[in-house]
Symmetry: C2
Subunit: 557 residues, 2 copies
């Protein structure tokens, strides 16, 4: 009667999704889900907002209860049960009931590992003191919530300015807690390029968040009821510390069972989410997958890929050869109203992977500027200089950022080029777009570069010129804009006067033209090039110049 | 010195964009733009919101002034100048200065027609009375604005419930004007399928808008300072009438010049936007293009295509063989906070084109439901039953609708299938998405249909069964939901009890299963099919049943 016995380790994004899909595909399978923690199917991604009081009551975080698993899916869910060992030879798992201590084994025909990732705990003194937390499980969130509440914490330190760290910053601030952020990298959100995260610095400052960038956590000490955090030579006094320096794949079980581990430390799987043991599948934060852009191994510990991988694993267990083709690393985070998102490669990632790229910066309004409420947005596009294939995009703004990254993600998924972005036919009504959507504009600008209509220059190249060979810098903004702040040595000829003042420009030197955002300077470059000058357009304009300058602040206290 | 002489007829979306691009490509071209109206480069799409007071002052509607055209683009712009004739043999246009009456000719090497479209005026008595308006030009908006203001209009009739009509309804309501809508079609927004527009009916009712559907305008009479509108046998008394029954391509000049006109009444062009005269290009609302999905001629009078066609025309005039590959008809409108959007084919369009399709309805939240503020959204997907190619999508909701349609538009553009939608890797943070984005869910559901995992049934098929051969209707919602309203004759077995009550179901009849939205019934169908029943899932659930019932109300007064 039982078609197959499936055991699933872990009952949240990957495990729960796999169980549900398995049942739909096979009414006769026996399905066990063992979850070490006290909850299955909870919203990890909501935990910071639960702590901040945005999500309440706690029950809202429980997406599907064990009862629902029983009633709808006829799945045996065991919370507080840890799988402690895999016996591959006999196809058994050993399980420990964490409440009773009882141990038992359970046989499987197919085993699914969805154990997720473990928060990294820095190896410095004091990380195990009371009041020092990591955040992964609902229980962690509960503990933090109660600590903040019971101790009336007014000052906290967040160690690590990745997306979970920054979400915690915002939510602590929501509780009127003053926050200091300690981050070893020279920037926040190290998964993004440094110039793209700059708009967030102002927001953090506006919310009285102190940033200590480029300083690893050195130690935590107890000081009466308070904690003293040492970083960058200072001691910061606070009532709670959140460690959010990243996660690593939880491969303990897999490793002990001798399953292959990939170069990035995750369980190695094929496109069917099968491990090196064909009766064992693995999904989610614990596995490495293929990077859709580079074809290389990548590790994308995010919920969307986890849940889709789970579906693929279930399919394959039931004999359907579906595939998980790879991941783009599409990601989004909102910090104090600034939205930042990415898909595909960042510039850092392209450099790491040794992939040739060209880049462009564009600034667009989230919707038609004549309609109230349009918000500025900056898009950085990376593309293949040979054929225009889109390699990656990052966008930052406060409206419509996720939309543009999603469209570009779809394009990358389908092998799209910057020419496809030019042609994209997207929604346009004044409340949500423009006749030329920001995605089109990004495509135009990149296409113009590739067609040779405008040679781009980049601000980061400027620094690499020896002083005497520096290009001539032409600023085509208005005198007012120029007066309010300009590049040292730049010459100002407003675009509208350019045709009449060509004689002021050198013919023997390269001219790098800029304006505020790159558009007027592009118009200028087109004029100059056709009049026999050698001109380049400084991509993204003065605003990207400033972002580069501010992109790697040493400390922002 | 002059490389080529270009004359452009029309100076708004198509004409102005073409002029700007031409100048960037060719600094030595002579470029004339003749615009019959008083303004170039204005935001037609903002006019309703100017009338409603949302956009103010009027100057915000002027995207680029003639001065900007001179200073930035060195383009000769002539407003209030009408091109009255094309002399193809001598490559001349005849121009009339509408202010002085002076006439002159202007030679061209390349001529661009961007005359746009003309509002259709129904052929009934009274349409030329004072107080009866169409809306196309800034001057029209001005006239309406002043009329409403000066006469203190409190009641208005909008004839035609297309997107401009409904935008006018909202904006008149913003001015506390009570509106009656007269529409000849049996639904509002005839460009959408009738069941998709249903959420807007409630909003219109909530704003005291009266709807007369299925009734063409019959006559308008003056009655003292008021107007009497006759439709559906009633006389509606009001202070102003807006005629928004659609537009048609303005092909007067083209036709008189003997240029080829296409089957839909627009100027015929090739992929380079070239008319049947190789020295004449045409773009925008005046032309027909290729439908990207059907390959047939289509007419998409929207600003995005116009502006991209203009760019292609400019390219080709300058010897670059760029192409406008075709249009999807991506469109969006917001009415009283309900967003509705489409891309590709609607069901009506697929039927008209004789294209085989399958369809699915899904309901998703705009973002993770555990995070506050998530809004429901319904997506209707049309796909090729043979290979899963996405043919079209419509979505309605109040948040994130444009995003999902844009992603699907990108997919269609790239020839994507429902399997690609399953795999889409989109932004997920609780504020903007879900681990399974609505786009993924739409893909899953369509994919499941195509893989044969669930046979869909559609509510509109149900009516086609003779009473005695009707399928068995199984409602798997909760007893509470069932009690609150159910299908006549449906049997209620909640999903959670289904496995234990299979004996209550017939094995000799097809069972059509439904729930509220289609998800629980899908789970139910999977159980039933594996237990030897013949079951189908009623796509979209009870909510789509109700939408079908309400989709074609005869009158909604
Ligand atoms: C605070 C926070 C915010 C996040 N925000 C986002 C976001 O906005 N967007 C996004 O895409 N992703 C976000 N994520 C990441 C997302 O939650 C994960 O990518 C996703 O949950 C991974 O799914 P998984 O099934 O691999 O692991 P998990 O969901 O972590 O589930 C693994 C489960 O396995 C259990 N387990 C481990 N070992 C054993 C064992 N031996 N026996 C039994 N049980 C075991 C663990 O207790 C755990 O509950 C966030 C994560 C956190 C912690
Ligand atoms: C109220 C309203 C709301 C709209 N909302 C949206 C929206 O939300 N989204 C969207 O995508 N589209 C919208 N549109 C449609 C969009 O404005 C058009 O698709 C777009 O403007 C078409 O561009 P075009 O250049 O072809 O025509 P137009 O922009 O109309 O320009 C044509 C110009 O040519 C001039 N002209 C015509 N004949 C001659 C002649 N013989 N000599 C000289 N000049 C001539 C006309 O005066 C006119 O100004 C809206 C239109 C209106 C009227
Ligand atoms: C909820 C959870 C148990 C998955 O359950 P699930 O039954 O797969 O349900 P989902 O809500 O994802 O719905 C998807 C299924 O319903 C189907 N479906 C959804 N709407 C439908 C509709 N209108 N008609 C028909 N089918 C529909 C889909 O096709 C899919 O089934 P499939 O995989 O067999 O194709 C699991 O994702 C989970 O535990 N999530 C919470 C934890 C988590 O994700 N944490 C990290 C992020 S915070
Ligand atoms: C504004 C208008 C004159 C077009 O002018 P335009 O100079 O083409 O300007 P846009 O703002 O569209 O910008 C696009 C151009 O700037 C370039 N550009 C934009 N941002 C840039 C940046 N950061 N760096 C470099 N180039 C940039 C684009 O590449 C494109 O140039 P290209 O076509 O040569 O590739 C015309 O669209 C118009 O009149 N619009 C208003 C009327 C209208 O559209 N009505 C209907 C809708 S309401």
């Amino acid at each position: 009667m039982i078609s197959r016995r499936v055991v699933i380790v872990g009952g949240v994004a990957g495990g729960a999704s796999c169980a549900a899909r398995l049942r739909r595909l096979d009414e006769n399978a026996e399905i066990y889900v063992f979850e070490r923690g006290g909850f299955v199917s909870f919203a990890n991604c909501g935990l910071p907002y639960y702590i901040g009081g945005v999500i309440s009551p706690r029950e809202r975080l429980l997406v599907a209860s064990p009862e629902r698993f029983r009633d709808y899916f006829n799945v045996e869910v065991r919370v507080n049960h840890e799988v402690t060992r895999i016996d591959r030879e006999n196809r058994l798992v050993e399980v420990r009931n964490r409440q009773t201590g009882a141990r038992f084994t359970r046989p499987y025909d197919a085993l699914v590992l969805a154990p997720g990732a473990k928060p990294i705990v820095p190896d410095v003194p004091g990380v195990d003191l009371p009041g020092v937390f990591t955040l992964r499980l609902l229980e962690d969130a509960e503990r933090i919530y109660r600590w903040l509440q019971d101790r009336h914490v007014t000052r906290a330190v967040v160690v690590g300015a990745g997306y979970i760290g920054l979400e915690m910053v915002e939510n602590l601030a929501n509780r009127n807690i003053t926050v200091t952020v300690v981050e070893a990298a020279p920037q926040i959100l190290p998964g993004f390029d440094p110039e793209m995260v700059v708009p967030i610095y102002d927001k953090l400052a506006a919310h009285d968040v102190r940033l200590l960038l480029g300083h690893p956590l050195q130690a935590i000490e107890a000081d009466g009821s308070q904690l003293l955090v040492t970083a960058g030579g200072e001691k910061i006094d606070c009532g709670a510390v959140i460690l959010s320096v990243g996660v690593r794949p939880d491969v303990t079980l897999a490793q002990e069972a001798g399953l292959e581990i990939g170069p990035l430390g995750g369980i190695r799987v094929n496109e069917h989410m099968q491990t090196s043991d064909p009766t064992i599948w693995a999904v989610g934060d614990a596995v490495e997958v293929k990077d859709l852009v580079t074809g290389q191994p990548t590790w994308v510990p995010l919920a969307g890929p986890a849940s889709r991988q789970a579906r693929v694993a279930a399919d394959n267990i039931c004999g359907r050869p579906s595939r998980f083709p790879g991941a783009l690393g599409t990601a989004f985070v909102r910090v104090f109203g600034v939205d930042i998102a990415k898909t595909g490669l960042t510039e850092k990632a392209a450099q790491r992977a040794g992939i040739p790229y060209q880049k462009s910066f564009t600034h667009s309004a989230s919707h038609a500027t004549y309609y109230p409420g349009a918000k500025p947005m900056t898009i950085k596009l990376l593309f293949d200089p040979r054929d225009g294939r889109v390699l990656g995009a990052q966008a930052v703004g406060s409206e419509g950022v996720d939309k543009r990254i999603d469209v570009i993600a779809a394009m990358i998924q389908k092998g799209g080029t910057v020419y496809d972005l030019e042609e994209a036919e997207l929604c346009y009504a004044p409340q949500v777009g423009s006749a030329r959507d920001p995605v089109n504009i990004a495509g135009f600008v990149a296409g113009n570069i590739l067609r040779g209509d405008v040679a781009p220059a980049h601000w980061d190249e400027l620094d690499r010129f020896p002083e005497e060979r520096r290009p001539f810098i032409l600023d085509v903004r208005t005198p007012g804009e120029f007066a309010a702040g300009a590049l040292p040595g730049a010459v100002n000829i407003p675009l509208g006067e350019l045709r009449g003042r060509l004689h002021e420009l050198p013919r023997d030197r390269e001219i790098w033209v800029h304006c505020a955002g790159g558009q007027r300077s592009y118009y200028g470059v087109r004029i100059l090039n056709q009049k026999g000058f050698r001109a380049r357009n400084l991509s993204g304009g003065y605003s990207i110049y400033r972002a580069y300058r501010r992109g790697t602040p040493k400390s922002n206290g």
